[in-house]
């Protein structure tokens, strides 16, 4: 029995190798779908081989269009629709359709394609991962997390899913769970800097400067690319806690230099330090970057208003606050507070100032209201004086 088991294992491995080799060959050759030399035992290509062959052609097309920066995703989607309709049982065709639709921006279409892929092959990890991604894009964070949890259950090797879930849990303050997920992800994929990133952020959060430095040193041995940005950011947080703002600013700056598109918080931190040292211009620049990267970010709009006001750009500051108001549906008290101060102290619009400040009082905690009340009192007095002088005239 032993030898039979061994042999069957060998056969299994050999079969895998053979299949693998075939796949490699086809991927390298770009075989024309109609003239492919790949055939199954009966002398005809299997559906998988046909799809592989077609995907090779498509890869060439996408690669050449990418070179000129104009990929016609609509056309790619049409081709993949035809392919997945023709080979209904080949999960890879349906999966690729999902990827193409995602690139096109058709998230619901992509979601549908991924779900159909999973119906064909429930163990298709990439499809489940991408499904979680598109569900997130459509705003259903809870469902996305549920999908990620499913994926982790099905595929213990799904490192990316673990890390995505870990990041989500870290943001929610569930630090220990985030750490466990990251460590598990690193067990599968020890070079994944995202794992180190989550662990470093968690350590920074816990004020464990040495651990952050250790994680950073270990991670930097593994990767020299933009993924290091997160580790710079975490180090920056440590420096902030150590009150070494210069070093913090340096690390945050490194983070955004390495990965300008990802680290909103680093931009925030740069802006905050700049504000503290009256470098309003840099603060404005940083907040504006955040706003560009995430136009719905209310916090950045509010702080941008403060920085603009620092530069004496009152009208622009007002517009920033107003944008923040519209983004937050007027529910963020700080915007009303800042608008009130701006109207009161810089724009001399007492009524607007009073309205904003009263709105603030409505939304904010009572403990924060003392100063505001004094300003309202001042406004009322000034309004009374103005009223008096008007009536005298």
């Amino acid at each position: 029995m032993k030898s039979r088991n061994t042999l069957s294992l060998m056969v299994c491995i050999l079969a895998a190798v053979t299949l693998g080799c075939t796949a490699t060959n086809t991927s390298n050759q770009g075989v024309d779908i109609d003239n492919s030399s790949i055939e199954n035992g009966a002398g005809q290509r299997s559906p998988q081989q046909a799809v592989s062959s077609a995907m090779q052609k498509l890869r060439s097309k996408i690669a050449s269009e990418e070179k000129v920066g104009q990929v016609d995703w609509a056309s790619v989607v049409r081709q993949l629709e035809a392919l997945s309709d023709k080979y209904k049982t080949v999960a890879e065709a349906r999966y690729n359709l999902g990827v193409a639709k995602e690139r096109l921006g058709d998230y619901s279409g992509a979601e549908k394609a991924y779900r159909r892929t999973l119906a064909l092959n429930p163990n298709f990890s990439a499809a489940r991962e991408n499904l979680a991604g598109v569900v997130l894009r459509t705003g259903d964070r809870r469902q996305a997390i549920s999908i990620l949890r499913e994926l982790i259950e099905i595929d213990p090797e799904a490192a990316t899913a673990r890390l995505a879930l870990g990041r989500s849990l870290l943001a929610s303050g569930r630090v220990d769970e985030a750490i466990k997920l990251s460590q598990a992800a690193l067990a599968v994929d020890p070079k994944n800097l995202d794992g180190y990133c989550i662990l470093a952020l968690a350590a920074a959060e816990s004020n464990e400067g040495p651990r952050v430095r250790l994680l950073r040193a270990q991670a930097f041995k593994l990767d020299k690319g933009p993924k290091r940005a997160c580790l710079h950011f975490a180090t920056g947080l440590v420096f902030l806690k150590e009150k070494d703002k210069a070093s913090a600013l340096f690390e945050f700056s490194e983070a955004v230099r390495l990965d300008p598109q990802s680290h909103l918080e680093a931009w925030f931190r740069i802006a905050e330090i700049s504000m503290e040292y009256k470098n309003f211009a840099r603060a404005v620049e940083s907040y504006e970057t955040v706003c560009r990267m995430n136009p719905s970010n209310v916090e950045a709009r509010i702080n941008l208003g403060v920085a603009l006001k620092g530069m004496g750009k009152f009208e622009e500051a007002k517009r920033a606050y107003q944008k923040a108001l519209s983004l937050s549906s007027g529910l963020v008290p700080e915007v009303h507070f800042n608008l009130g101060v701006l109207y009161l102290k810089n724009l001399d619009n007492l009524a607007a100032a009073e309205a904003s400040l009263r709105k603030y009082i409505d939304l904010a905690k009572p403990s924060q209201n003392a100063e505001v009340f004094s300003w309202i009192q001042e406004i009322e007095q000034r309004k009374a004086l103005e009223s008096d002088s008007t009536s005298r005239r």
């Binding site: 592989s52 996305a144 067990a187 464990e208 509010i302 700080e334």
Partner: protein, 1070 residues
Amino acid sequence: MIGISKHSSRSRRTLLASAFFLLSTTGFLTQTSTAQKPSGPVLQYEQFRRKVEFRVADAREKQIEGLEKLLRLGTELEEIPKLKFRLADLYFEKSQFFFFRSQETDDEIYSTESPDEKERLKAQKSVYEKEAKLWSRRATQIYEEIREKFPTYPRIPEVLFALGQNYWSRGKQDDAIDVYRDLIREYEDSPLVADAWLAFGEYYFARGALEQALKSYEIAASDKRSKAYGFALYKQAWCYYNLGDWEKSLKKFQATVFYSQMADELSGENKISLAREAEKDYVKTYAHVGNANRAKMVLMEIANVDDCTNEKCLKLMEKLGDEWRVQGKFEDSASTYRQIIALQPTSFRNAYFQSLLVDLASRRGDKSQVVEEVRTLTKLYEKLAVREKEGALGKERKKIRSALQEARRDAENNIRKLAQTWNRESVKTKQKETATQALDMYGEYLKLFPKAKLAYELRFQMADLFYRLERFGEAAEAYKITVLANPKGKHLVAAARDGIIAVEEHLRDLRLKKIKPTKQRQDIHPERIKLIEACDRYIQSVSGLDAKDIVKISFKAAKIYYQHGHFEQALRRFDRIVSEYPAAEESEFAANLVIDIHNIKEDWQSLYESASRYLKMPALLQGRNKLQEDLVKFGQHVKFKFITEEQEKLQARKESLRPIAEAYESFQKEFPTSENADKALFNASVVWDSLGDKARADQIRERLLTGYPDSPLRADVAFYAASSFEGQAKYSEAANQFSAFAMKYPKDKRARDALYNAAVFYAGIGEVQSAAKLRERYLKLFGKAKGGKSESADIYFSIAKDYERANRVRQAALHYEKFTKLFSTDDRYFDALWRQSVIYRKLRVLKKAEKAENQLLAAYTNRTRRKRKVPAQAADYASQIAVFRTNKDFAKYARQRLKPLNLKRPKKFQQSMQDKAEKRDRLIASYEKVVTQYKQATATIASLSKIASTWDNFVNTLLQVPCPRSLTEEQCTFFKEGLQEKMSNARESAYQAYVTCVTKSNELGVFTDESRNCVKALEDIDPVAYPKIEEQQVTFDAKKQPLVIEARPFIFSADSNKASSVSLEGGVRQ
């Protein structure tokens, strides 16, 4: 080296060759002893005696019937003998008829193959014979009856002659002679008397009574008109011939020729044949007395021609040559043939004549001449063959073919015999020259008659002869051709086997360089290829071979391929040996070499398959424990190797390693005692770890530790476990494991790294004491090792830094201090001094702080003065110390108050103000000097801040001066306003310094307490430009940030249903 023994094979071959040779030449020997026949003419008497007239059978029967009827009915008396004579003649004719029929039937009996038909024909023949005798007897009876009863019958001589003839035909020559005697005696005038004498001549000639015969012939020839005349002459010549009277014989033959050319008496056919035979017999006789040089002239006369290129003359010449040859007059014969060739140099038949010359030369015993003649023959023959091939058409082609056939007829036989005889002779005499000449003969023979029936035989003999002459290369080639010539030939086995031996001998003679087995494919020497081919031929051509032979020969060829790196061919052969002859001695070697080849080719799959297959062959393994052990070892080794390679492939393709982990486990189960079993478990644990299945990985590691207590991998397991924790960023566990490893395996080469790592990880998780303890241990163990000094510096510094970070500042300061003592030349010397200064200042241990600062400044100054390399941060530290030092002056300056203004005695006030202003300027100059001297950001910002503060202090100090007592309140206000006004420049200087401080702070990225002071000052001084921030700023809310999962890309191959991007660092070790 496995092969057929050289000596034994040589002697055996010689015996075989000799035996064959003797057998093959037996025919030759018997043929040479042919019996002598009595000399006599080709022409027979019967041709020249009276002929029986044959009629058509029906007509004859009618005539017989009619005559018998007449005789029965009765007729006139004188008619009776006439009718009876006629009837007897018809009976005789009938008798002859049946005789001929019986002869014909005899031919038919000979031709038919059917036994029944044979029997039928034999019966038929018997009937014919009886009939022939019957009718002959009846004829005789009638002839005798006529002789007795009708003695007066006028045609009695004819009756007597017929009777004699009848007796002669029935073999009763004596009775015939009696009758002829009566005829001669009683009817001497009869024209039949000459014929009767001729019969007498024949009678005596046949009995060797030549004198009587000659006399009888002479009498028979006395009548020139007689039809018997020509033949009687001819027979006289023969009588003389037999009497040895050559001259008379020649004359009589010549006379016969002339007579036959002229005589009308002879019928056409007899005339020609008599002339022809007489000519021939003339030549035959001339051969006894003639001269080769004159022969041509004589024969021209006989042939009655002027030129011997005439066909008739040439034929006579040829006949003469033949006669001489037969008589052993080889010189004369050869001369004659040469004359013939010379007469017609382009004749197709010259090859034939040349073949006779070969024969003659051989009969003369001149071997060199024979060789020469044979060579000439070969040239002629080849020319003829070429001519035939190249377009001879029709008759010419026919003639050429006929000539070739003619030439071949004797030449083939002769040359073959010569080759064989000489070969045999050389065996006996051991004469190398003879052997060489025999070889020449063989060579020429095979050139001339490559397709001859015996060419195969000759080729083999020639191969043997080559071998005997130690011309092994040629022997090998001849053996090869022999094998290829006839796959069913009787010498196939010997030729195939001897071909191998010959190539081997040839290779020895060539003294080729010994082959060093190589992994790289290299060209095989052409002669070695011949050996391989010979081996292959042996295996392929010879059926029913002894297994031992097949194995030895196959192994020989396979080994050559193996040694030259031609592994495919070698593999096929070795594997065949093992598979088909597992018990053979060579199979053990072959099996090992098969495994070796797979190993060289790194074809693990095939290696595994071969090893597994061989292990299932009891015949191969019986009594070969080492082989069995090796196969098991190779099998498991290669399976292990195969798994590791598959692992690499899957890793490269980023595919799941689950099958690999399972394969390693399966390996350990299959080969639990293998040297790789523990490695398999180890690797399985690593892969399961990578797959995230820690529990299974741990379980396997446990199996390794308990199942393989002596495994060197126990240390690996421990190290791997620690590394695995490190990979998962579980630094606490990693530190514990590394530390434990370092303690447990202090002699392991990884112990040093383990200790180092453990310390780093402990420090990283804030367990500074543990870290420091391990680092100190490290320094103790490895501080003096190679590269230890530089590492020691790192470690000392790290210990101090760890303490400082853990806020154990006193311990930190102590370690920094220790560092400066131990590593004064290290770049971090300045850092260590600076950290001491900072720590001691915090702790208010100013003396120690200043000591460190002094040390730092001295070192900095010293190095810069000597223009030695100074680390970048040293200037920063020095500049900050310079600022500290200046700050002391600032403190004094700040404390300095102005003397109150006494309008009567204002000098004191003026002096104190002057003094403060001077100090202010000196102070500013000092700070400016720090800025310009060191050009360091932090010190610059600090200096700018202090410069601003210096101005500020000056202004504030002045403004704090109380009004002179003598002034009224209004005057006092005026005084204060005046001071304020006077201070505007100083204020501006302070403001500008603050602005520069803040601007530079942002520019240089230096945010210190000083820069913060500048900001605060400006918020007060210029709140418009530097407003206090009253607004509420909002912090970044990570929770609200979108969670983005980067989409996985397209999958271009639909053959893989797994799209995870697992990548593993090479943790798997073998």
